[in-house]
């Protein structure tokens, strides 16, 4: 099989892509790549006078969501300024196109409220007093703290907490080099549950959905407006729908994705597994499932032995066990529990049954994040992929690990030999990613403390459900000794920092990114565009050259920050840290960013060095000129590939047909395999095949991982009623289910708030509520609603819409910022500013301000605050 993905044409972007509109007079979507270094265009404002402007086009990567789409910066050769960003046609995932957040990058570059110089707190933490300092002061103080912690054996007191890294592996390598288990993430308020569901099936914790070639697209997500990976996914989902694929979207709220779907299924939150198991039941009963695939690629033998030891060990028994297990999920029962039409479920099952192998599905945060037992949503969804044989197929879904590329950095330090129980508490052995949501609670309990705490694109004070716990922890110097916020913009969390260090926005930093956006593999290279521009203008870039020389103010990039900081922690190399940050060619000198990426591009990206040579460039130059690289190769059927005898050397074939390394052959200090437990192949149909990175190297219908860790009752796809299951609520009274987790197409957490064009489009943050609920609760037009949850309350204006299930209310978690500084920050999208802050900012004020500032239309009464209990 080969990729059916349409790739950008190598000769240039003109008219590429299906449905391309480049038919009129041969119009191109972007300037031809060969002319990017010197592109002449006409000035828009001067038209109809023909005033020529000369631009240099420099590719980089968008930072405004996870997708890492390609951008091209247009730099005016006369003014030496970036004037706008357009799509990068060389990018295999975004294919020259962007969502609203891509071109809005220019707002972030020119944002008048961005932080341009390092700041240090004056006065109490959170009081809003700041002074400008030098980078050297900041680095000296922070590095001496870290050095002391390492020397004194307090390694767990150093933590780097990242919301959206926007890069792959760089900072983790830094922390590993320091010998600390200090990485923390946002993932536990986000995708952890879905990852558990996927990982227990296939070892990969994320799906890679081949939407472009699917016949049925099943989304428990809003991938046409948000999510992983909005723009690349939306392109391919709509492409498929336009050629006849059926799009199904499960969401209690009419997202834009629900609006585009052929079937919008507004199931009660938390009942998604019921709906999915009903579809599984219908596929099994209609005999429209792929017996051969399930037989060949699932661990049905284990499933049968563990769930139905009473039956003889044959596949027929497994089939019977499956039918029996899901017999209760009839359309009628699903209809009752989920609140969707039984006949519609039958119709959907029939559509799914008609397209074996071409069922592409995706879930991420959605139902997984919002419900107890939500992780089973992903497990039940992928069951449909397994039953339809749509795993690793054209138009199916495969493991992200086979499409995402994570090239090895130079000089990889050995793994850290211990773990930090503040991030990985023993009570949660199956937590997928750090239990970051508990950090302030652990600090309160005294489980530990933090000496130096970095936050990076992470705003838990605002984003996490219990922001006040974070506020409390960050306000207490006994719990958090020094909080360093690495950020280009103010945030609620940065307000409670000791140091605010300005880092570049998407076009001002180096990073690598690669994601499973489609059936294909690619690597994207983010670069500081003004640095590259200077280089193209003839400025010599040496190993001494630093990115901040080209950024506004004293804005740094993190790559260089971590190199410098590491050198300052270990100036003489005695801690064994410095050597990981030394130049490979210049002894006792810091590694340069060029050296770092040159070594990766030259050796770790298959095909790149050859293509660069063919273009007469070094691999680094090649990437600086293109911004992204599509790795050639087969994107499908990885599990079916046979494993060469040489790779099997040193392994033992076990009773379960899995090839594992000899016991004792594995060194405890050897790097862990990126996926799986180190086994290399599974014997299937007389050949050693790659299989899946699971314990059985097959798809685990019965997850031995879940069983082995103590949850055998949840080892198979099933339904766990949610803590907010509707039948447990007083819907006749004033209880409703709150959906607080959805993104809108224009905003992305903290970092898009200062993009003026995005805020212009979207700046109101209402509670979606069905008119019948509004009436039942007595909410007046334009009135305010007080939403009480188990951990607090907020006040919000109401937006009545038929686009939400009665009984459910919803508010996006990408809007509704706090105003931390009334005096200075007048803009609605601002969250704070330096200088002139109030010194008495406490939690109560914030609650009060929410009440006072809850907005209704200006000319309407706003006294009608009504209470809703969200759950």
């Amino acid at each position: 099989m080969s990729t059916a993905e349409s790739a950008p044409s190598p000769s240039g972007p003109g008219g590429s892509g299906p449905g391309g509109s480049g038919t009129v007079a041969g119009l191109r979507s972007a300037p031809p790549h060969s002319r990017w270094h010197d592109w002449t265009e006409l000035d828009a404002a001067s038209w109809p006078n023909r005033v020529e402007r000369k631009y240099t086009l420099v590719p980089t990567t968008c930072f405004n969501c996870e997708a890492a789409c390609g951008l091209v910066a247009y730099i005016d050769q006369e003014t030496d300024k970036v004037v706008r960003f357009e799509g990068n046609p060389e990018h295999p995932a975004s294919r020259g196109r962007n969502c609203a957040k891509g071109p809005a990058t220019i707002n972030q570059v020119h944002d008048t409220e961005r932080i341009l110089y390092p700041l240090r707190r004056t006065g109490e933490r959170g009081a809003g007093g700041w002074e400008r300092i030098s980078w050297d002061e900041a680095l000296s103080d922070i590095s001496s703290r870290i050095r002391a912690a390492i020397v004194e054996g307090r390694r767990d007191e150093i933590m780097y907490h990242v919301g959206r890294a926007g890069e792959d592996g760089y900072t983790e390598r830094v922390l590993t080099a320091w010998g600390i288990d200090g990485h923390n993430s946002h993932t536990n308020v986000c995708s952890s549950s879905a990852r558990v569901g996927y990982a227990t099936w296939m070892g990969h914790d994320r799906p890679s959905s081949d939407f472009a070639n699917a016949e049925v697209i099943f989304l428990i997500s809003s991938h046409l407006e948000a999510g992983h990976y909005f723009n690349p996914h939306a392109q391919r989902i709509i492409e498929a729908q336009q050629r006849g694929a059926t799009v199904i979207c499960v969401d209690p709220r009419l997202s834009n994705t629900g609006a585009k779907a052929d079937h919008w299924l507004p199931a009660w939150p938390g009942t998604e597994p019921v709906l999915l198991l009903c579809l599984a039941h219908l596929l099994l009963e209609a005999d429209t499932w792929d017996r051969a695939f399930v037989h060949r690629w699932t661990n049905w033998e284990t499933y049968l032995a563990k769930t139905r030891p009473d039956l003889p060990p044959t596949f027929e028994s497994a089939e019977r066990a499956l039918r029996d297990a899901y017999a209760e999920y009839t359309p009628e029962r699903a209809s009752e529990l989920c609140g969707v039409d039984a006949d519609q479920l039958r119709e959907i099952a029939a559509v799914i049954g008609k397209s074996p192998g071409r069922f592409a599905s995706h879930t991420w945060r959605a139902a997984g994040a919002g419900n107890l037992g939500g992780w089973q949503t992903a497990r039940c969804l992928f069951l449909l992929n397994v039953l339809t044989g749509s795993v690793g197929t054209v138009g199916g879904t495969t493991g992200a690990g086979w499409h995402k590329m994570k090239p090895k950095p130079p000089l990889q330090p050995p793994p850290v030999g211990h773990w930090n129980e503040m991030s990985w508490p023993r009570e949660y052995p199956l937590s997928h990613h750090e239990m970051s949501i508990l950090l302030p609670h652990f600090l309160r309990e005294g489980r530990g403390k933090l000496d130096t705490y970095f936050t990076r694109v992470y705003n838990p004070v605002w984003t996490n459900p219990d922001g006040f716990s974070w506020l409390e922890a960050l306000s207490d110097p006994e719990r958090v000794g020094c909080h360093v916020a690495l950020t280009p913009t103010w945030s609620e969390t940065a307000w409670f920092a000791d140091y605010v260090l300005p880092m570049g926005v998407g076009s001002e930093r180096h990073d690598l990114a690669s994601f499973e956006t489609h059936a294909g593999q690619w690597l994207g290279f983010r670069q500081p565009v003004m640095r590259r521009y200077a280089e193209l203008q003839g400025r010599e870039i040496t190993s001494e050259t630093r990115t901040h020389e080209f950024n506004p103010g004293e804005v740094w990039e993190e790559n260089e920050f971590w190199i410098d900081l590491s050198w300052k922690i270990d100036p003489d190399g005695s801690l064994g840290i410095r050597r990981w940050f030394e130049s490979p060619s210049r002894p006792n000198q810091p590694i340069s960013v060029d050296e770092y990426y040159e070594s990766i591009f030259a050796a770790e990206v298959p095909g790149l060095a050859d293509d660069a040579a063919a273009a007469g460039q070094t691999p680094l130059e090649f990437m600086r000129d293109r911004g992204a690289y599509a790795v050639r190769g087969d994107a499908y059927g990885h599990h079916e590939r046979t494993v060469s005898p040489s790779a099997l050397a040193g392994t033992v074939l076990g009773d379960d047909a899995v090839y594992r390394p000899h016991r004792g052959a594995v060194s405890p200090t050897a790097p862990l395999p990126p996926l799986g437990d180190g086994s290399v192949a599974v014997e299937v149909a007389g050949a050693a095949r790659h299989g899946f990175p699971t314990p059985s190297r097959k798809l685990e219908l019965y997850s031995t991982t879940l069983a082995d860790w103590g949850w055998p009752e949840h080892a198979t796809p099933g339904w766990i009623p949610s803590h907010v299951h509707w039948q447990r609520l007083d819907l006749a009274g004033n209880e409703r289910i709150l959906v607080p987790t959805f993104r809108i197409p224009t905003l992305i957490h903290t970092r898009s708030a200062n993009a003026k064009w995005l805020a212009e489009i979207s700046h109101r943050h209402p509670l979606w509520i069905h008119p019948s609920d509004a009436e039942a609760l007595g909410i007046e037009v334009g009135g305010l609603v007080r939403v009480n949850t188990r951990i607090g309350h907020f006040v919000i204006s109401a937006w009545r819409t038929e686009g939400i299930r009665p009984g459910v209310v919803a508010a996006s978690h990408h809007m509704g910022r706090w105003r931390l500084d009334d005096a200075a920050a007048a803009g609605r999208s601002d969250s704070g500013r330096s200088g002139g802050g109030r010194s008495d900012l406490v939690a109560a004020d914030l609650v009060e301000s929410a009440r006072v500032r809850g907005r209704g239309p200006a000319d309407r009464p706003r006294s009608s605050e009504k209470a809703v209990s969200g759950s």
């Binding site: 892509g17 828009a44 196109r97 891509g102 039409d341 943050h765 009545r800 038929e802 200006a858």
Partner: protein
């Protein structure tokens, strides 16, 4: 297709005008391309990328838009649907904005695109009322009328418009209606894809696919009482409104605001030029019946009318967003526009009134006899020409679709009333009768009433949403 369309054009009675448009002005050569857009709501995901790409390409200020995306909801849960429609200039083949533009700032380019030239625009805003699609706005930075110009500067170097380039789902397609090989143009023909407000007969070249009729009909989709999905909706006069009705098939969940083009100053101008016209009509009538009191028939009304005309000029110029360019009306004026024609009418009226006043002072009734016909005619024109201007506002149903005679009669009536009040009070004061000392107050009250009346008249028409 061209032939077919031309036939349809002739049948609809607008063909000749259209052909004329295409053979004058900027379009010197025969068109070999006639560009438009296909906006495919079937593919559109409502992401607003086009909006932002356009903002970026043209550095469009906050609060105004060259293109935007409407969200329209239909149906009741769980059969609810949300439709996305991209809104922008329709590059009409019979573009009312070009017809009404007094200075030729708006023009048709050789590729069929309706383009604009900032250097000619005086900011009179007539185009905003002529356009049935809310496509134009006055840039708060330049004070001139802007809109989608198809990114002509990009087409010129072989690039798609920026909204087309950025669109993730290829929902925006450039169409050449004159290219027999253009597949999209063929699709538009065979599927008979709809345009917005076809009844305005502007022959839009922007077509829609995969949408619902309510999404294209602003009157079918009011904004709900509690506003928009993620933008403020204040319900002020700056925002066109649709009365909520139970029967409305759809609800607008997202749209953008549009400013009212003509407000208090234009209402004031209607009153003052009415006074100028009316005063002179009363004076002329008085002279006709043989009254030759020179102060009451000649100098008095002439001075009053000249003052009213001067105020008219001040108001008109003050209403321009580029007032310093008002003289473009005379140096770059297009007589096809009633803004230009009106300016000449007012100028001519001023000359005649001056002659009447000066001549009347010396020559009396003989002079009146010579001048009475031109003066009366010019005064009626001064009062009534606005009817032609309002009729030229094809975007405003309440003006354009009203019979010309009715509009004209209304304006002449208002002139007679306002002018009568002023002239009457002049005559009364002339008589120096204490009994009539209240007349200026009464006249002022009449003028204020007229101004409020005209203000409401203007607002009513402009409050109806076009997009």
């Amino acid at each position: 297709m061209r032939r077919g369309e031309a036939g349809a054009l002739r049948a609809s009675g607008v063909g000749i005008r259209w052909i004329a448009l295409r053979t004058v002005g900027m379009c010197q050569t025969e068109a070999v391309t006639r560009l438009g857009f296909l906006l495919d709501s079937g593919a559109c995901i409502g992401c607003h990328a086009c909006t932002v790409a356009c903002k970026s390409e043209h550095d469009v200020p906050l609060g105004v838009n060259r293109t935007w995306v409407n969200y329209v909801e239909t149906g009741e849960f769980p059969a609810t649907q949300r439709h996305f429609t991209v809104m922008r200039c329709n590059h009409c083949d019979d573009a009312p904005c070009i017809s009404i533009c007094p200075t030729g700032s708006l023009f048709r380019a050789s590729n069929g695109v309706v383009d604009f030239d900032d250097s000619r625009c005086i900011g009179c805003k007539a185009c905003m009322n002529a356009c049935p699609y809310d496509a134009l706005y006055i840039s708060p930075e330049t004070g001139t009328a802007h809109k989608c110009n198809f990114c002509q500067h990009r087409l010129e170097v072989g690039l798609e418009p920026s909204c087309v380039s950025v669109c993730p789902t290829r929902a925006i397609t450039v169409v050449d209606h004159d290219d027999p090989a253009d597949a999209t143009a063929a699709r538009i023909r065979t599927e008979k894809l709809p345009v917005r407000s076809p009844e305005r007969r502007t022959l839009p070249k922007v077509h829609y696919a995969g949408t619902t009729p309510a999404a294209l009909d602003p009157l079918a989709r009011p904004v709900a009482d509690d506003g928009l999905i993620w933008a403020d909706w204040t319900g002020s006069a700056q925002w066109p409104t649709v009365p909520q009705t139970e029967a409305a098939p759809a609800r607008t969940a997202y749209t953008v605001a549009h400013a009212e083009a003509w407000g208090a100053k234009v209402a004031g101008y209607m009153v003052t030029k009415g006074v100028a016209a009316g005063v002179m009509l009363w004076a002329a009538a008085a002279s006709l019946v043989g009254w030759d009191d020179r102060a009451a028939v000649a100098t008095g009304p002439a001075v009053a009318a000249l003052v009213a005309l001067a105020v008219t000029g001040v108001l008109l110029i003050a209403d321009l967003k580029r007032p310093e360019r008002f003289w473009y009306l005379f140096t770059k004026g297009r007589m096809g526009s009633w803004v230009t024609a009106g300016a000449w009418v007012i100028m001519a009226d001023g000359v005649l009134v001056t002659l009447w006043g000066i001549g009347g002072l010396w020559a009396g009734s003989r002079w009146f006899a010579v001048l009475i016909a031109p003066l009366a005619l010019c005064s009626v024109l001064t009062a009534a020409y606005t009817a032609f201007l309002l009729r030229q506002c094809r975007g405003r149903v309440m003006w354009h679709d009203r019979p010309l005679t009715l509009l004209a009669a209304r304006l002449v009536g208002e002139a007679a009333l306002g002018g009568g009040a002023v002239w009457g009070s002049l005559v009364a004061l002339q008589a120096n009768a204490v009994a009539f000392s209240w007349t200026p107050v009464a006249a002022a009250a009449v003028l204020v009433w007229l101004w409020r009346h005209d203000r409401a008249f203007l607002r009513a028409a402009q409050a109806a949403p076009l997009s």
